[in-house]
């Protein structure tokens, strides 16, 4: 129960709390709920344009009327994007963190800082830099030429998506690595020393000491990468604009709602329809988070 407060004036406390709650309700909770309501309307992006409720039409259109293969492709691509980045990014990050945690490494902080740098530089600098490196006459093109092949990189139907996944991993790997490193450093060293006396191999130590004790960091990292990759599309927007088979659900939603990216329809901004799509994405994220929490809980008990 809340204690009666005798220290400070009640009105002052309420005055202090009010702005935060109001802004939160108006800017976050309200729009989130409205997003659900919007998905049943034919709202456009224009100011003052009339709109009406159209029931489930947006959902029907998304799942049945529009080209069936299109939306299956986009959802598949969204899942591949999230799955591949999450797994690869965390495996590499864990590997690098373990290496950097070796006792003999000098300049650990410097390497950590270099790998973390893209997070600080931000998505615009990252995307534009890689855009230049993957210029059709740039350094990578020259390397490919040695092997007798070529590619249009971010303009390539086949490889653009893979490159975007690469850039995404490049950008956020440092984040996961830093979290793993912090987790590793909290593992007491005498555990390994005890293992050494017992003659455990490197792999045994990793499997039986490191991984179980690192489990909280794994949980945080995997959850953050899944949610991040499912909902973020900034790199796609800044490199291909959603062209060349790279658009994910998140990208499609914003293209429909705000006309951004290179795939934006000339039909105008369909924000009701986009809201319905964002509900689909929300359900996908929710399902992932729930499955993930279920698996992690089970695993935690086993350990």
């Amino acid at each position: 129960m809340h204690s009666t407060n005798t220290t400070f004036k009640k009105w002052a406390i309420y005055c202090g709390v009010l702005p935060a709650i109001l802004i939160y309700l108006i800017m976050n909770v309200g729009p989130s709920i409205a997003s659900f309501v919007f998905s049943f309307t034919d709202m456009s992006g224009l100011r003052g344009a009339s709109w009406k409720f159209i029931g489930l039409d947006n959902y029907k259109e998304y799942f049945f009327i529009q080209n069936y293969r299109d939306y299956i492709d986009v959802i598949k691509r969204t899942l591949v994007y999230a799955g591949v980045t999450t797994v690869v990014q965390n495996v590499i990050a864990l590997f690098v963190a373990v290496i950097l945690n070796s006792k003999f490494i000098k300049g650990r902080n410097l390497f950590r800082a270099i790998i973390f740098m893209p997070v600080v530089l931000g998505v615009v600098v990252t995307s534009l830099s890689w855009g230049l490196v993957f210029n059709t006459e740039g350094p990578i093109a020259k390397i490919l030429a040695i092997f007798g092949t070529s590619s249009n990189f971010f303009g390539d139907q086949k490889y653009a998506f893979m490159l975007i996944i690469f850039v995404q991993i490049w950008m956020y790997m440092g984040w996961s690595m830093v979290i793993f490193l912090a987790g590793l450093q909290s593992i007491p060293a005498d555990l390994y020393e005890a293992g050494e006396i017992d003659g455990t191999t490197w792999w045994q130590a990793f499997k039986n000491i490191t991984l179980p004790l690192l489990w909280p960091s794994v949980t945080v990292n995997v959850l953050m990468s899944i949610i991040g990759a499912l909902s973020s599309f900034q790199i796609i927007l800044l490199t291909t604009g959603g062209n060349f088979n790279t658009s994910t659900l998140g990208m499609n939603i914003y293209a429909q709602a705000f006309g951004i990216g290179k795939q934006a329809t000339v039909l105008g901004l369909r924000q009701g329809y986009a809201s319905a799509m964002s509900m689909v994405l929300f359900v996908i994220i929710l399902v992932f988070v729930l499955i993930f929490q279920y698996i992690m809980k089970k695993r935690e008990i086993e350990i």
């Binding site: 809340h2 204690s3 220290t7 400070f8 002052a12 406390i13 309420y14 202090g16 709390v17 702005p19 935060a20 709650i21 939160y24 800017m27 976050n28 909770v29 729009p31 989130s32 409205a34 997003s35 919007f38 100011r47 290496i99 950097l100 070796s102 490494i105 390497f111 950590r112 270099i114 790998i115 600080v120 530089l121 931000g122 998505v123 615009v124 600098v125 990252t126 534009l128 830099s129 230049l132 210029n135 020259k142 490049w170 830093v178 979290i179 912090a182 960091s217 945080v220 953050m224 900034q234 927007l237 800044l238 914003y254 709602a257 705000f258 924000q271 809201s275 509900m279 994405l281 929300f282």
Partner: protein
């Protein structure tokens, strides 16, 4: 013994490869930014010979970069300080159980992190209120929310003894004076790490800047750079000079503050 040193070499080799993968893009951009346009077209991978620093001046003059820098700083400072202050004022009574339904509101704020994306209605609302394409409208979205920040602050304040409040109020210290003069200085570690997280978030934003802003005069640096590099009037070398203009201050700041920045994002990440 020999086996161990081979292992060391392999590990250093892996690190070296990583360092190259992480530093190459920036070096390549920097190198390109120092070339003349014809030099770049002739050979994209040659080392810059002409050291054309004039590219920077040209890029700076071609677009309103001084203005963009100012806007970014302005947005970053205002949004960060406001959201931190609001969160402190909310976190303190929650941590102390000083107001009714505090725990309920706390739970609501934390659950908010899992609500669906409300950008479309938010946009609609700001448009209707006439706040589209204004500084206020752009910043409002960064100020609310902050589930992670609130969580961090509540748990941090719980570690500060309650006797302090009583002592302060007996001495006749008002509530707002108490928060600003006593509580906030005590919360420095928590505040600085959350402030860094929030500041980075605002500084690097591009999505909201694309959706909510269009007037050139109020664009932040990210969007300015995006517009500048998207224009065919600007040569590649000029675009890269602009990119360096944007990236250089961050890199320099990062070199000095790397430990704070990494630890700040870390505490936000792990606790969130």
């Amino acid at each position: 013994m020999k086996k161990k040193s081979i292992g060391k070499i392999v590990i250093y080799l892996i690190i070296a490869v990583l360092v190259v993968i992480y530093l190459f893009p920036l070096f390549y951009v920097f190198n390109t930014s120092l070339k003349t346009d014809s030099e770049f077209i002739k050979n994209t991978t040659s080392i810059a010979k002409s050291f054309r620093f004039k590219n920077y001046i040209d890029a700076w003059n071609a677009a309103n970069f001084g203005n963009y820098v100012f806007n970014s700083l302005f947005y970053m400072i205002v949004c960060t300080s406001l959201s931190i202050i609001l969160a402190v004022f909310l976190a303190f009574p929650i941590a102390r159980n000083y107001f009714k339904y505090g725990n309920l509101i706390y739970a609501l704020f934390l659950a908010g992190m899992f609500l669906p994306d409300g950008t479309i209605p938010q946009f609609k609302m700001l448009l209707t209120l006439g706040l589209y394409d204004t500084r206020t409208g752009y910043m409002l979205g960064f100020i609310g929310g902050g589930g992670v920040t609130l969580f961090m602050f509540v748990s941090y304040i719980k570690g500060i003894p309650k006797e302090l409040d009583e002592a302060a109020s007996i001495d006749g210290c008002g509530y707002f004076t108490f928060i600003f003069k006593i509580l906030i200085p005590l919360m420095k570690p928590a505040i600085s790490s959350m402030a860094i997280l929030q500041a980075l978030n605002v500084w690097n934003d591009i999505l909201r800047a694309i959706i909510y802003l269009s007037k050139d005069a109020i664009l932040p640096m990210t969007r300015g750079l995006y517009v500048f590099t998207g224009s065919f009037n600007n040569t590649v070398t000029l675009q890269m000079a602009a990119l360096i203009i944007v990236a250089a201050p961050i890199v320099i700041l990062y070199i000095f503050l790397q430990n704070y920045i990494i630890d700040g994002t870390l505490s936000g990440g792990v606790k969130g």
